[in-house]
C-alpha cells in the first residue's frame, strides 16, 4: 500500500524525518519497503491569473498572455499550450525560477516577443504525466500564492507491505494510529456528519439481508441532485499520490474514504436500480453480472451479491456492476457501506480473479463500528463536491453479529514470562493504552483489556503480549539463553545413512549437485520405463509453474542426464555427479505418496582401468561406477553383490548389473544405453549408479566389530587361467575363495586379457592368491596342496586351463 506523508500529516503530527518514521514502523511490524519522494518543492512557483490571451504575431501555435502574478504589474508571457485561456488560474514560473528538472526560467524573446516567465504543465512541475497542456488550477486559488500552498509540494510516499492480520492498517487512519502508538500525538479525524435535507432516505430505498451470516451490516445513504464531473485538484492529486487514477467526483470520493478509514464503499446510480429494495443475497445459479471492469461474469451460488428487484448489481465486497455505475448525467446516488464476512468475500475474489482494494480490506476484516461513519463521510463529501442534498437518515439492516472478542484477560506475569522481560503492570497498561486497548479490572479480579473494534486480529492473551512487545520494542527485550536439561540427541536413522553416503561419494571424487526435482513429461518414455514400473506412479502437480515440469521425480536419472548434457554444451565432457534426493511414488486418491531417499550418480569418460585391455575406453566409466558402488557400500559397512542382469531398461544390455546387499536389491549400476544417450543428446559414454537409501536404512545399522589379524607370514601364488569368454569373473573369484577355505585370506584379480596368444572365444584371467594362518607359518607343501585343489576345481567346474605353473610370490 502506498501512503502519502502529506496526507498522513493531516491526521497525526509528523515531527520526525521520513527515514526515522519508516524505521520505527518497520520495527513495529508495518514494513516500509521504500520511501519515494515525488514532486519537487513548488514554493517558488506562484498562482497566476491569465487576464488576456492573444495570438502570437509571428507564430500560429503560440499565444501571448497577460498574467497577474500578484506582484506589481501584470506580466507578458508567451505560451505554447493550446488550452491556455483568459480567466484561468495557472502555475506561473517567473524569471529565475528553477524547474524540478533543473532548467532555469529566464526572461527571453520568443519569436520577437519578450516573455517574462512561463505557464507550466504538470510535467514541467514534476507532479504528473499530463504534457498535453498547461495545468489549470482551481478558480478559487488566490493569485500570487505559492503554488505549494495550493497543490502541495515535495510529498513523500511510503510503500508499505502489510501483514495479513493488520487489515486495520490499510488506511490513513490505521497508520496514523500506529504512528500515535509509537510517537504520541493527537489524532485529527475529519468531519464525517453530512448536512441532511428534509427528505428521508427510507422513502427511496429499503435494505434486506437474505444472508445474515455473511453480511453483518449494510448501511446506505442517498444523495439527490448531484452533478457528476471531474474532481477538484486537491482530490485528484490526493488519489494520484497513492497511485489511483481520478474518475469523477463521486467515485473519487468513495476511493478517498476507502483510504481514509479503510472502509470500502460503493456508489450506485439510484435511477438505474429497479424497485426500491436493495437485497444482499446469494447469486442464483447461472446468474450473470457485468462488472465495472467490463467483464461479463458468470456468478456462483457461493458469491454474495447486492441485487435490486431483478438482478445482481454488485459482487458484494469486491466490485460494482457496470449497469448501475455512477456516470456523467447521474443525479441521484445510493451510497453503500457494509460489513461482509471476510471468508465469503475472499472466496468470490479468488473465484473471479478479482483482487480489489475493497476485497483486500474485507478479507482482512473491517472495523465493525466504522460502517456508518464511512457512509456519512462519503455523503458529506459528495454533497460538498458534486452538490446535491443528502437525504435524512441512514437506511440500514443488520445480519448476524460478527464474531468478536471484546475483552481479553492478561496478567503481567504472563507477559514477562513469555517475553523474558520485567515490565511493570503500569507500563504494560500504558503501552497498551497507546493502541486504544484500555485496562480494566476483570470481573473475577486480575487484569483485563478492552479490545477496540478496529483490532479484530486480537483474540487471545498472546496477541496482547505481542502488542506489548512490539510497542515496547523487540530490541529492548533482554537477550538470554535458555536453560534446559542435557540429554541424548535423536536423529532419524536414514539421516546417518544419507550423510555417510554423501561423504563416501565425495571421497570417491564425485560432485554433489542439486536440481529442481521435477520430471519432464517425456522423461520416462525416453528412459524406456514401461507402464508397469512403479516409477510410472508419479505424483502430478495440479498447478505447475511450467506445463512440461508437472511431476515430482520418481527417478533421479533424467535430471542427471540433463546435467551431463548441460556440461557437454559447455565443453565439459568429463563429469562425475551425484544427486541425493527424495523420489515420490503416488498411492492414489488423497493418500500421501510414498517418499524414498535415493542417490544416483553419473560418470562420463571414467579413468582407464589398469588391468582391463580394451579396444576403446567404453568400459572405463562402468568400472569406475561399480568401484564407487563398492566403495560407498564398504563405507556403509555393507558388502555389495553384483550379478550380470539387465537391471534397468536404460542400461546397455551388455553392461548392466543389479546391486544387492544381503540378497535384497538396493540399486543398480550400468552403462547408459546408447539409444537413451542419443535421446538425451549425450555424446560421451556414461555410466549410472543408483542406490535406494531407504532400503539400506531399513536393513538396520550393521555392527562393525574387530577381527583379529594374523601375525604369521603369508605366502602368495599367481595363477593365469584360460577360460571361456562368457564365464563371469565374479563366479570364478567366488569359487576360488570357497575352495581355498579359511587359509586363503585374499584373492585379487589383476589381469583380464583377450587377444594375441589367447584362442578366440577365450579369455585369460590372472589371480593372486594369498594364504595365511593365524596360529603358525604355512609350509610350502600345504600351500601347494591348496593351490592344486583350486586348479583342479577351475578345470573341473569352469573348464579352465592353467596357462603356466603357479608362480610363487613372496
Amino acid at each position: 500500500m502506498r501512503l502519502s506523508l502529506q496526507w498522513l500529516a493531516e491526521w497525526i503530527p509528523l515531527e520526525i524525518p521520513p527515514e526515522a518514521l519508516a524505521e520505527r514502523l518497520t520495527m513495529g511490524g508495518i514494513e516500509v519497503d521504500a520511501i519515494e519522494r515525488s514532486g519537487a518543492d513548488l514554493s517558488a512557483f506562484r498562482v497566476g491569473h491569465v487576464l488576456e490571451r492573444e495570438a502570437h504575431p509571428n507564430a500560429d501555435r503560440l499565444s501571448v498572455c497577460r498574467v497577474d502574478t500578484g506582484e506589481g504589474e501584470p506580466v507578458r508571457v508567451v505560451c505554447g499550450a493550446s488550452n491556455v485561456a483568459a480567466g484561468q488560474k495557472v502555475a506561473f514560473a517567473g524569471d529565475g525560477t528553477r524547474l524540478p528538472d533543473g532548467t532555469a526560467i529566464k526572461r527571453s524573446k520568443i519569436r520577437g516577443v519578450v516573455s517574462n516567465g512561463m505557464i507550466c504543465s504538470e510535467v514541467e512541475l514534476g507532479i504528473g504525466a499530463d504534457a498535453s497542456g498547461i495545468l489549470v488550477l482551481d478558480d478559487a486559488a488566490p493569485v500570487g500564492a505559492a503554488l505549494s500552498d495550493v497543490i502541495g509540494s515535495g510529498d513523500v510516499a511510503l510503500e508499505l507491505s502489510l501483514t495479513p492480520n493488520r487489515g486495520d492498517c490499510a488506511s490513513v487512519l490505521g497508520i496514523a494510529r500506529e504512528v500515535r502508538a509509537h510517537f504520541g500525538g493527537a489524532l485529527c479525524v475529519p468531519e464525517t456528519a453530512p448536512r441532511e435535507g428534509a427528505r428521508a432516505a427510507k422513502d427511496d430505498v429499503r435494505i434486506e439481508i437474505e444472508e445474515p451470516a455473511d453480511c453483518h451490516r449494510y448501511a446506505a445513504r442517498v444523495v439527490h441532485g448531484v452533478r457528476v464531473g471531474p474532481s477538484p485538484d486537491w482530490l485528484a492529486r490526493r488519489l494520484e499520490s497513492i497511485g489511483l487514477r481520478p474518475i469523477n467526483n463521486v467515485v473519487d470520493v468513495t476511493n478517498l474514504v476507502l483510504f481514509e478509514f479503510g472502509q470500502p464503499t460503493h456508489a450506485f446510480d439510484l435511477a438505474t436500480l429497479r424497485g426500491a429494495t436493495v437485497r444482499v443475497r446469494a447469486a442464483r445459479e447461472g446468474e450473470k453480472l457485468l462488472t465495472l471492469d467490463q467483464e461479463d461474469r458468470e456468478l456462483d451460488p457461493d458469491d454474495l451479491v447486492i441485487a435490486d428487484a431483478e438482478r445482481a448489481i454488485a459482487l458484494a465486497g469486491v466490485m460494482g456492476g457496470a449497469e448501475t455505475e455512477v456516470r456523467a448525467g447521474t443525479t441521484s446516488v445510493l451510497i453503500e457501506s457494509a460489513h461482509f464476512a471476510p471468508a465469503r468475500v475472499r472466496r468470490s475474489a479468488r473465484r473471479h480473479g478479482l483482487m480489489t482494494e475493497a476485497s483486500y480490506r474485507f478479507e482482512r476484516g473491517v472495523d465493525r463500528a466504522g460502517v456508518a461513519r464511512a457512509a456519512d463521510r462519503v455523503a458529506r463529501l459528495v454533497a460538498e463536491l458534486a452538490g446535491g442534498e443528502v437525504c435524512a437518515g441512514l437506511v440500514e439492516a443488520t445480519g448476524a453479529p460478527a464474531e468478536t472478542v471484546e475483552e481479553i484477560q492478561l496478567d503481567a506475569e504472563r507477559v514477562n514470562r513469555v517475553l523474558g522481560t520485567a515490565i511493570a503492570d503500569a507500563e504494560i497498561q500504558a503501552l497498551l493504552s497507546r493502541l486504544d486497548i484500555q485496562h480494566r479490572r476483570a470481573r473475577g479480579g486480575g487484569d483485563a483489556y478492552r479490545i477496540p473494534t478496529h483490532r479484530n486480529d486480537l483474540a487471545r492473551p498472546e496477541d496482547l503480549v505481542e502488542e506489548v512487545g512490539r510497542i515496547y520494542g523487540y530490541d529492548r527485550i533482554p537477550t538470554t539463553l535458555p536453560v534446559a536439561p542435557l540429554g541424548p540427541v535423536h536423529a532419524p536413522p536414514l539421516r546417518a545413512v544419507a550423510e555417510q553416503t554423501r561423504d563416501a561419494f565425495r571421497a570417491a571424487g564425485l560432485l554433489e549437485c542439486m536440481m529442481l526435482p521435477f520430471l519432464r513429461s517425456d522423461d520416462l518414455d525416453r528412459l524406456g520405463i514401461g507402464g508397469e514400473d512403479p516409477r510410472r506412479r508419479t505424483v502430478a502437480i495440479a498447478n505447475p509453474v511450467l506445463e512440461d515440469e508437472a511431476r515430482m521425480e520418481s527417478t533421479l536419472v533424467p535430471g542427471l542426464l540433463r546435467a551431463v548434457h548441460r556440461n557437454q554444451t559447455r565443453q565439459i565432457d568429463a563429469v562425475q555427479l551425484f544427486n541425493l534426493s527424495r523420489v515420490f511414488f503416488a498411492r492414489g486418491g488423497s493418500t500421501l505418496p510414498e517418499e524414498r531417499v535415493a542417490v544416483s550418480a553419473v560418470i562420463t569418460r571414467g579413468e582407464r582401468v589398469a588391468w582391463y585391455e580394451a579396444q576403446d575406453d567404453r568400459p572405463a566409466p562402468f568400472f569406475q561406477a561399480k568401484g564407487v558402488v563398492e566403495r560407498v557400500l564398504r563405507d556403509l559397512s555393507r558388502p555389495a553383490e553384483f550379478a550380470p542382469e539387465w537391471a534397468e531398461p536404460y542400461h546397455h544390455p551388455g553392461a548392466s548389473s543389479a546391486v544387492r546387499v544381503e540378497g535384497a536389491r538396493v540399486g543398480s549400476v550400468g552403462e547408459l544405453h546408447p539409444d537413451v544417450a542419443a535421446r538425451f543428446d549425450l555424446e560421451v559414454p556414461c555410466a549410472l549408479l543408483e542406490l535406494d537409501l531407504s532400503a539400506l536404512a531399513a536393513q538396520g545399522a550393521p555392527r562393525t566389530a574387530y577381527a583379529e589379524v594374523s601375525r604369521q607370514p603369508q605366502s602368495s601364488r599367481d595363477l593365469a587361467v584360460l577360460l571361456d569368454r562368457e564365464t563371469p569373473a565374479g563366479d570364478v573369484l567366488a569359487a576360488i575363495q570357497q575352495t581355498g577355505g579359511t587359509q586363503l585370506v585374499r584373492t585379487d584379480l589383476f589381469d583380464c586379457y583377450e587377444g594375441t596368444g589367447v584362442p578366440s572365444g577365450k579369455k585369460s584371467l590372472a589371480f593372486r592368491l594369498v594364504f595365511q594362518r593365524h596360529d603358525r607359518t604355512l609350509v610350502e607343501a600345504e600351500v601347494n596342496r591348496l593351490v592344486d585343489r583350486v586348479v583342479k576345481m577351475l578345470g573341473h567346474r569352469f573348464d579352465g586351463e592353467l596357462r603356466n605353473a603357479p608362480r610363487r610370490e613372496e
Binding site: 511490524g29 517475553l419 533482554p478 535458555p482 536414514l494 495440479a542
Partner: protein, 342 residues
Amino acid sequence: MTSRTSQELAELEREAVEAIEAADSLPRLLEARSQVLGRKGTITESLRGIGAADPADRARLGRELNLAKQRIEARFADRRAALEAGARERELREHRLDVTLPGTGLRSGHLHPVTQLEREMVAFFTGLGFSIEDGPQVETDYNNFEALNFPPDHPARDMQDTFYVEGGNLLRTHTSPVQIRAMQRLEPPFRFVVTGRVYRHDFGPRSSPMFHQIEGVMVDERTSFGDLKGILYAFARQLFGARVDLRFRASYFPFTEPSAEFDVTCPNCAGAGCGTCSQSGWIEWGGCGMVHPRVLENCQIDAERYQGFAFGMGIDRAAMIRFGLPSIHVLFEPDARILEQI
C-alpha cells in the same frame, strides 16, 4: 732426519690444514692427506725422527706430534664428509624433477554448498541438545496450514504460494508441518530442528520454486522470547562470525505469537549499506516467534503450562551470504565448474 722444534711443528700442522681445506675433490684431499700422513708424509717422517731427538725432548715431542696428527685427521674427516655430501647432492641433482609441473590429479569430490551449510547448522543445534526431526515433502493441507493456525479462506494463505498435487495434498511450503508431526508425538520439554526442501509456486530472478529451510522448536515451561533472541544471536555468530548483529522486527506468522522477522548484518558492507542489502545494511534472513498456543493445543499440549519458541530460515540464503552468490539459481545449476568451486 733431525728433530723439530715446536715452532716448526706448528708450521707443519698449519700447512697440512691449509692443504686439506683447499682440496676441492676427494682425490685432491687424499693427495693432501698422504703428503702429511702418508708413508712419506711430513708428520709420519717427523714421528720416525723422534728417536734421533734429544732424549730430554723425546717425550714432549712425541706427545705434540701425536696431538697434531689427531687434529689433522679430524680436519681431514670433516673435509671428506663435506666433499662426499656435495658429490652425492650433485649426483642426485642430475635426476632433478620439474616441481612446477602439476600434481597428478586425485579427483576431489565436493559436497553441495547447501549440504555444507545444512551440516554446519545442524551441528550447532545438535551440540545444544536439539534432536533432528524429519517429515514428508508432500503434505496434507492440515499439517501444512490448518494445524499451524492458517484458517481456510484466510489471507494468511497468500503468504505462501502453494503447489497442489492431484488428490488435494500439496508440496509443503515450509518445514513447519514437521513441527506438527513431531509435537503430536513428543511430550514437553523437547527441542528439535528440522531441515529439508520446501516448495513455493514462485519462479523469478530472486526466487526458486524449491529451496531449503532449517527450523527449530523448543518447548518447556519457561523458554522465552529473550531466549529465542539469545539462541539466534549465537547461531548467527557461529555461522557468519562474531561481529555480525541481528535485528528483530515485529511481524506476523499464524503459527507464532508474538512473531518477528530477523535480519543479519550485511556481510558485504558490514552494515554500512550497499547494493546487496539495498543500502539498508541488513539482509533478511528468517522468521521466528513464540509457538502459538493454538498450535500447541492442536498437538494436545497444555498451552497454559508450556511455552516455547520456533524459528526458521533459508539454508540457501545462508549459502548465498557465505559464498557471495549473485542468485539462488546458481545453487541449482549443475555446472561442474560451479559445483567444485564452492
